[in-house]
């Protein structure tokens, strides 16, 4: 089963990297979103997944082995929110850049080198 998820991770990474390598900055940002989705999934996957046993405990259920590992969930949650902040900032940066220079083409960005 997990093999499919693994393939999904691979596809998401492939799509992300492909998008990241485009010349448009917008596509770059979308690529980053894909890559961060892939990474989140990878983290989630790597720590062992359990179907249908959410990490809730109460007076009766306190046994760790019965439920899914809550820590990677918390980690991925944090990563998702951080990624959200970064993506929005990137969007704003892109917007400002377009307003200042009038181009979306990454290949035009050559002034700060050489």
């Amino acid at each position: 089963m997990e093999i499919l998820l693994v393939i999904l991770v691979g596809v998401l990474y492939t799509a992300g990297v492909y998008m990241v390598l485009r010349r448009s900055i917008l596509k770059f940002i979308i690529g980053i979103i894909f890559m961060s989705n892939a990474t989140n999934l990878l983290v989630f996957l790597a720590s062992g997944i359990v179907a249908g046993k959410p990490a809730f405990v109460d007076e009766t259920v306190q046994n760790a082995s019965k439920i899914a590992d809550p820590l990677p969930q918390a980690l991925v949650l944090t990563a998702v929110v951080i990624g959200f902040g970064l993506v929005v900032f990137a969007l704003a940066l892109k917007l400002k850049f377009f307003e200042t220079t009038g181009t979306d083409d990454l290949d035009q960005l050559k002034k700060t080198d050489n």
Partner: protein, 138 residues
């Protein structure tokens, strides 16, 4: 969008979203939810509102500027550390008090809840700031 149907619905949708935002926040310790989810829900209420009307009328509905929410949120987060300092415990240790609540049983309040509330406020402020700065420049 400036559509009348959306405007008609706005009142109810906003109320429901904010209500559920608080529900998610307060139940977050025991059921799905929490500061982030609550904050994002509350923001979406305002986002919807600003789609139905224009953003100016939305800003009037807010109690304060988004920056204010951020500041209040951060302050709450800092405050949530203070009980542990006062009690001379390890930093960020959760301090809990139980308030008897009549028939409903006991209500447990603790610094983690305050922390979550701070996160909630901050997330609202932050997301609104995102939204407004990206919108305003039409």
């Amino acid at each position: 969008m400036n559509s009348i149907i959306l405007q008609l619905a706005a009142k109810y949708v906003r109320f429901l979203l904010i209500f559920f935002a608080f529900v998610a926040l307060l139940r977050g310790h025991n059921y799905p939810g929490g500061g982030f989810i609550g904050g994002l829900l509350a923001t979406l209420a305002i986002v919807y509102y600003s789609y139905a009307f224009d953003w100016r009328s939305v800003q009037k509905k807010l109690f304060m500027k988004p920056q204010g929410y951020v500041a209040v949120g951060l302050l709450m987060i800092l405050l949530s550390f203070s009980p542990s300092l006062i009690q001379d415990e390890t930093l960020m240790k959760g301090i809990w008090v139980s308030i008897p609540f009549g028939l409903l049983g006991q209500l447990k309040l603790g610094t983690p809840l305050l922390f979550d509330l701070g996160v909630f406020m901050t997330v609202i402020g932050v997301t609104l700031l995102f939204f407004f700065t990206l919108t305003k420049r039409r």
